[in-house]
């Protein structure tokens, strides 16, 4: 195990004083450093959100409300939701992996607007501080959805503070999306046509489109809620003729596309992982690329499926339900293509691949239950129950979180120059998988049986499911902590990775690990298709495999 120092790279500098070193990181405009800043801050928020989740699950072990009062419980699950949605899932993969990899993957020296990139991070931190202040001052009890008129007229909690946090984070999201769009359009290396781009880029492009089109609408919705709360008059107040459901329309117009902001980058990561770890070009590349765009566009037309029981008209319900089923098609296309890629591939069960395979299974379950929910008749029965909770945790945690972890492991050697301990990686992937299913599968069952969400007191009959769920959540938590340990240890003790430890195609692997500040020594010129594996690569690699091979 070599622990020799890494060559000079983006993370080293010649700062001699502590303050100079601090400035070199806090005032950096290098997309790679900003990605690391995001990595640290996003993981911190994830831990905080996870702690809130632990409190929720602890309370739910018993049917009585013994650990915390109803009010406290409301604040706890709201904190969990706000932090996880706004400060982990939405920025997650784009800000960490996207920021680091997009310029590398397209052969550029940086993003289009490096200073704007830094501003994005500061806005993220600013928003986060507002949200944390709100939590410290007692939290907010409206649920992460801030439904009116409760949030505007009746709640006694720190609504405005939390909204300010989400509002500011929204601008961070918008600026990141803007940066990515311009970068992908204008800064590709010579020869890198659209259809030679890695699918990771296609996915982030689609995500960025959603970010710039959808986020402003929630910004204005939250702004109106804040104004109504401060001045005690507003457009969502039924007393003066307002309609609270208008808030829901505006909120979900963003928040549904927002879930595609969460999942599309994850799908991009999975495409990369599947290709590399089966040594094959992604089957149906163009279909997967276009399906990202299709998901982005169709995702804007389905928000009403969150409002079936909110007095939305039946006709709208039908239309939204139908289009929701349509939006599943591009996702299914991706899953089929990934599976087809695996077929006759030379499959390697390294940690990133374990996460990718887990993703496919869990995302299918999560996605299918989403289709169940899209049917108005079913949704009326299971809405606001744990069925919905299980559905979105399957896609968010079983989907996005697994892809995030898989991506971190896959590109860890590129970002840090070190390999992590593969045995521990595999163990934690399995722990996460087992813990996750134990946590959330019982929730499908109890939701169907009628357990409402956001309740901390429940009938005795549901306790067994809650106990299973909480037990699973502790295992899941362990599964999240273990990588923290071995990834951090690898920074000191990990094997030096070399430029391309996975023997993968892709421009990011053509430069050193970690890359130098300007990414490439000479401007790369692209002449090959994406995932330019030799057609026989899978067969050859399988035949030539020996212990110690890269994969």
């Amino acid at each position: 195990m070599s622990t020799t120092a890494l060559p000079s790279n983006y993370s080293t500098n010649s700062a001699t004083t502590a303050s100079a070193w601090l400035k070199s990181w806090l005032l950096t405009v290098d997309h790679k450093r900003i990605a690391i800043l995001y990595l640290i801050s996003i993981n911190v928020f994830f831990l905080l959100g996870g702690m809130a989740a632990s409190m929720v699950r602890l309370e739910l072990v018993t049917p009585q409300g013994d650990l915390m009062s109803a009010d406290m419980y409301n604040r706890m699950f709201t904190l969990h939701g706000v932090i996880m949605v706004f400060f982990f899932l939405i920025p997650g993969i784009p800000s960490v992996l996207g920021n680091f990899l997009i310029p590398l993957m397209i052969g550029a020296r940086d993003l289009a607007f490096p200073k704007l990139n830094l501003l994005s991070w500061y806005l993220y931190m600013g928003g986060g501080i507002f949200a944390l202040c709100a939590a410290v001052f007692g939290g907010v009890d409206t649920g992460w959805t801030f439904y009116t008129p409760f949030s505007t007229s009746y709640s006694n909690s720190n609504v405005v503070l939390t909204i300010a946090g989400a509002f500011i984070m929204g601008f961070s999201s918008i600026l990141t999306g803007l940066n990515f769009i311009v970068t992908i359009h204008k800064m590709r290396a010579p020869g890198l046509t659209w259809f030679r781009l890695p699918l990771f880029i296609w996915a982030h492009y689609a995500t960025s489109l959603i970010q710039i089109l959808a986020t402003p609408v929630v910004a204005i919705a939250l702004l109106l809620v804040a104004v109504e709360r401060i001045w005690h008059v507003g457009v969502f107040d039924p007393a003066i003729g307002g309609d609270p459901v208008l808030y829901q329309h505006l909120f979900w117009f963003y928040s549904h596309p927002a879930v595609y902001i969460m999942i599309l980058p994850a799908m991009g990561v999975i495409s990369e992982l599947i290709a590399t770890f089966s040594r094959r070009r992604i089957f149906g590349y163009e279909f997967v690329a276009f399906s990202s765009i299709a998901i982005a566009i169709l995702g804007f037309l389905v928000w009403g499926h969150h409002m079936y029981v909110s007095s939305q008209s039946v006709y709208s319900g039908l239309v939204f339900g139908f289009i929701t089923m349509l939006v599943a098609i591009p996702s299914a296309i991706k899953v089929f293509n990934w599976t087809a890629t695996l077929y006759k591939g030379s499959i390697s069960y390294r940690t990133p691949m374990l996460y990718a395979l887990g993703f496919i299974g869990l995302f299918v379950i999560g996605g299918l239950t989403g289709i169940f929910l899209s049917v108005v008749a079913v949704d009326i029965h299971v809405t606001d129950t744990y069925f919905v909770v299980a559905h979105f945790h399957y896609v968010m945690v079983g989907g996005t979180m697994m892809a995030y972890l898989g991506g971190i492991h896959y590109w860890w050697p590129k970002m840090t120059g070190r390999m992590y301990n593969e045995a521990w990686g595999a163990i934690s992937a399995l722990v996460v998988f087992v813990g996750f299913n134990l946590t959330f599968f019982p929730q499908f069952v109890m939701g169907y049986l009628g357990m409402p969400r956001r309740y901390h007191v429940y009938p005795q009959e549901f306790q067994i499911y809650h106990v299973m769920s909480t037990a699973g959540s502790s295992i899941l938590g362990i599964g999240f902590i273990i990588p923290l340990v071995y990834l951090l240890l690898s920074l000191r003790y990990g094997k030096l990775a070399g430029d391309n430890p996975w023997d993968a195609p892709g421009l990011e692997w053509q430069t050193s690990s970690p890359p130098p500040t300007f990414n490439f020594a000479t401007q790369p010129i692209v002449t090959e298709e994406a995932y330019a594996f030799h057609p026989e690569a899978a067969i050859r690699d399988a035949e030539a495999w020996q212990p110690g091979s890269p994969l």
Binding site: V217, D243, F253, S313, S316, Q523
Partner: protein, 142 residues
């Protein structure tokens, strides 16, 4: 390495620089048109208010048509979209397309929903007005 930039630039800057030019005279013509349209919209309002009684949807329609015309002029000429790349034009248009998605679907829901109760759903006649005084007192009774 000089060849790096000669090779078929898919880097996105294949047509960099200017895409064309809008003469100054055009700006003045557009400006005059904008002023004329503004006068028209105020005049239409004045006429509709004092002389001709039009259904509200028509009056709003006229006002919006004029506003859209002004916007189109500003976007096309003042904002140089006429001489911009296809990409810029697509971005400019798509913003309004997305706005339409929001407007159409939400208004569709309101029209079909029966909210507010006085407006009623499309399939029903509006609830009959009670002629009795208590109703017309309404909120003023508070």
């Amino acid at each position: 390495m000089a060849n790096a930039r000669d090779i078929g630039h898919e880097g996105g800057h294949d047509r960099e620089g200017s895409y064309g030019h809008i003469p100054v005279r055009t700006y003045w013509v557009v400006f005059s048109s904008l002023m004329v349209l503004m006068v028209l919209t105020v005049a239409a309002w004045y006429v509709e208010k004092h002389f001709v009684q039009l259904p509200e949807i028509v009056a709003v329609g006229i006002a919006m048509a004029i506003a859209i015309a002004k916007t189109a002029l500003i976007i096309y000429f003042f904002m140089h979209v006429k001489v911009s790349s296809k990409l810029t034009q697509i971005f400019a248009v798509s913003a309004f397309v997305w706005l339409m998605i929001l407007f159409v679907i939400v208004m569709g829901d309101y029209m079909a929903r029966g909210w507010p109760p006085a407006r009623g759903p499309l399939t029903q006649a509006p609830a009959p007005r009670a002629a009795a005084a208590p109703v017309s007192q309404g909120w003023r009774a508070l």
